[in-house]
């Protein structure tokens, strides 16, 4: 995933360039969709509806956040959906087989996060250290992770104690849990965005050869991006435990490609370097809102897929083309 043209961040007068505001287009589309959605659905702006929308879009947003780091380094991670699945079933299985006690829940959640990080590290090792091509490699590791998910839990089922989904759907200190999680993800991104790691990550995505020659630890940086992606995939898996209160070995499979769409909708370039996490969260929300709008527009069922596909294609094309126009 390396393009010939190097898009080095340019500092200059044009403050509205894509480098400064890669997610401007996403923000515009997001606002338009919110307006359309509010027009179609009277309750859209009500607090509970807004929170339930955030809850519904959260797993995709978390996946997209993790994927962003990988894509900024000009790699790609096709295994995220499989990581979601394996974390989801592992957590549910651990908690249930240990009797659903408080300790089991703590252990289950910790094990889930650790599992996601491990999967990410395996991806990173294969891509950055063994220098295997990322698309095919992460597809391969994804098959393996999905296989382990089926091994742990061959069929959807099992249950977690009510406290988990009640907490997930409820509030902590008066603020809905899903908002805490989203805020946590944003805080994490804000923190990482200030580190030298992040600078090195973007440099690697912009021109890996130059980054290497400058003495940046390119392999470690790419590996770090995959580990973050695995961690966020694990978070998404945990969010789905909270939402569905049970395990499903196939739950993540269909999430991978849409999460990449979300990242691109958010203005992050697949060629690396350009973009950011905020756009990806917007992108995930855009995907969710498009589904909402189509549902509330009361289109006949058979038209929904086509209209959704066309809107997404137009948004993708529009984003890419407008960004280029601004670049000049």
């Amino acid at each position: 995933m390396k393009s010939a043209d190097m898009r080095q961040p340019v500092s200059g007068r044009s403050g509205w360039s894509r480098q400064r505001h890669p997610y401007l287009m996403a923000a515009l589309v997001f606002v338009v969709l919110c307006v359309v959605n509010a027009a179609l659905q009277q309750t859209f702006l009500r607090y509970e509806v807004a929170i339930s929308n955030v809850a519904a879009f959260l797993p995709m947003a978390l996946l997209a956040v993790g994927q962003t780091y990988v894509i900024l380094a000009a790699d790609i991670d096709l295994s995220t959906g499989a990581i979601v699945s394996v974390v989801n079933v592992a957590v549910v299985t651990i908690i249930e087989s240990m009797g659903g006690t408080g300790a089991s829940m703590a252990l289950g959640l910790a094990a889930g996060l650790l599992l996601g990080i491990t999967c990410g590290a395996i991806n990173g090792f294969c891509v950055a250290v063994l220098r295997l091509q990322p698309i095919v490699t992460t597809f391969g590791t994804g098959i393996v992770f999905a296989g382990f998910a089926l091994w742990i839990l061959p069929q959807a089922g099992r249950q977690v104690p009510p406290v988990i989904y009640l907490t997930y759907a409820g509030t902590v200190l008066g603020v809905p849990s899903v908002i805490w999680i989203l805020a946590g993800a944003i805080a994490f991104a804000a923190f990482v965005g200030r580190t030298r790691f992040y600078k090195a990550l973007r440099a690697t995505g912009g021109n890996i050869q130059a980054a290497y020659q400058t003495g940046l630890p390119v392999a470690r940086v790419r590996m770090g991006a995959f580990v973050i992606s695995g961690f966020f995939a694990a978070l998404a898996g945990l969010a789905l435990v909270g939402e569905t209160a049970s395990g499903d070995p196939l739950i993540g499979g269909a999430l991978t490609l849409p999460s990449i769409t979300a990242v691109v909708l958010g203005g992050t370039a697949l060629s690396g370097c350009v973009g950011g996490v905020a756009g990806s969260i917007l992108g995930a929300f855009i995907l969710g809102l498009i589904s909402n709008v189509i549902f509330f527009a009361q289109l006949p069922f058979e038209w929904q897929g086509l209209v959704q596909g066309l809107i997404i294609l137009l948004a993708l094309a529009g984003g890419v083309v407008m960004a280029r126009g601004k670049q000049g």
Partner: protein
Amino acid sequence: MEKPSLETLKTFIKRPLSIAVIAILVLLVGGELLSPGFASPRQIVALLTIAALLGVVAAGQNLVILGGREGIDLSVGGVISFGAFLAGNLMQQSDANIIHAVVLVLGATFLIGMVTGLGVTFLRIPPLVMTLGMLGVVQGGLVLLTRGVPSGRAAPLLGKIVSDPVILGLPGIVYIWILVGITLSWVLRRTTFGLNVYAIGTNETAAELAGVPVRRTRVMVFALSGFFSGLTGILLLGYTEYVFIGAGDQYMLPSIIAVVIGGTSLAGGSGGYVGTMAGAVVLILLQNILTTLNIPPFGRQIIFGVTLLGLMLLYGRQRRLRG
């Protein structure tokens, strides 16, 4: 074909095509040892039939990948399903409709590929994104056309052409695949279009300066990918008689893997179709072996993934960065 005579044994073995061929032999012998009868002629015919379906999709995928600029076609699965659906509905089990059904399906899928190619070429949308978007549109369109209910059946003659033994006990689909292989290899090596594909895949700017019609060539590789997906849809219909909506999905990522295992670089500009054909056979062989082994599905899946990574390790490694 290059001349192996001048090369040492080591470089010969390191070549992707050699690895694929060695992998085929190892898998065949291994399969025969694990379950006697695995390498029997009947099994091999069955294997080639399945490999032919994958191989024909991979032909289009191969062209797109060779054309470079991060070329990849994620829409093949949707286009295959679309082609199969359209063919089934145009044929309506009547042999008289075969020719116009085939022409219409190949024309329609060629046009779908062309739209993808126009988006990639003129709007400069990255292929991964453009084809992913087109996949959504084609799948949505398919739901609209079918209203969620599969319909349409193959003409009996199509089923015969695809599945019945023609010469040497091999079914027609294998000969169609060989024909695709010979034609594509010839096109890639001996025609201006083929050389242009390599040129734009290696260095687009240089190709442009050398007078290669870069845009036309790029639109064409995507259009041909649509065409080959449509052809696969027709063959799939002939093979299974009727198809469900998601029938083509299973070919999306394997078609890319077959190309990569066959030695075509995802960076574009190097590789060829003969290797891809071997890659398709390797993939199907591997799947068959895992099916005959008496292990649960999850075990098969894990072994398949690990083997894939192992194959990548053999020759999929990228250049070491130099200071």
